[in-house]
Symmetry: C2
């Protein structure tokens, strides 16, 4: 409303309203956060309507903290703000993808990304002469 009067109230305007998002049972929507230059996935957090609006209005990623049950503008405590470059929505409106400029580290551990621990990797397969072709074999077999 203010915007239509020429008053600049928001950094961003969304093409789809929050009301049209498909929320989880707890009323939140997950947001995957990605470095806008390297595409590194930094973290996943959750938004309610207020945090989504705050994100649009300030240009800084703002979540709903499930543990503290409050609005959480990331960086307000640590200085590690995430400046929004682009927000995407997926095909069924139930997940947000945010491309951001990350100041400092996204993770509270000091790691740039929260995903710094490996669960499993195919590297050993790729370097084992006995199994190096298994992936190609899988692809062909599945055709």
């Amino acid at each position: 409303a203010l915007k239509s009067q020429g008053i600049d109230v928001a950094v961003f305007e969304t093409s789809i309203d929050f009301a049209d998002f498909k929320l989880m049972d707890n009323g939140l929507i997950p947001a995957v956060v990605q470095d806008y230059r390297t595409n590194e996935v930094l973290m996943v957090a959750y938004m309610n309507e207020e945090s989504f609006r705050h994100t649009l209005e300030t240009g800084k990623m703002t979540y709903y903290s499930r543990s503290r049950q409050e609005l959480w503008c990331k960086g307000d405590t640590s200085g590690h703000y995430q400046y929004v470059k682009k927000l995407m929505i997926d095909c069924d409106n139930d997940t947000i993808l945010a491309k951001v400029r990350q100041i400092g580290a996204a993770c509270h551990t000091g790691n740039r990304s929260c995903f710094y621990r490996e669960l499993a990797s195919r590297d050993y397969v790729d370097t084992n002469p006995l199994t190096v072709l298994t992936e190609d074999y899988d692809v062909i077999r599945n055709r």
Copy 2:
């Protein structure tokens, strides 16, 4: 158990058991799926213990379909398999990041990624001479 007897039962072995993951209220854990070469985020889906085990055993991303309430080995219908390259876990054990080799399109719409629609973008700010410096201003002001 079979593995300790030298019988190869799994493509992957996990460094953290599913029992140690922090699940959502519905017993699932979200998995962010990323192209292992370009880092493009392709989709987000959810796993239960059975789908996680199936993923490790087959090397193909397998989810729990919340809508169909059943195991969902992606590609079994479409041929668009996702071969696991690497699985990561985040700092608080509640989100999986999968780096995959995607066959065909990840999205049922035929788009390579489910995130093909833009909600909002800062591009207009970056090209507007009146506001081109607002981002730098924001960063400095927040220090």
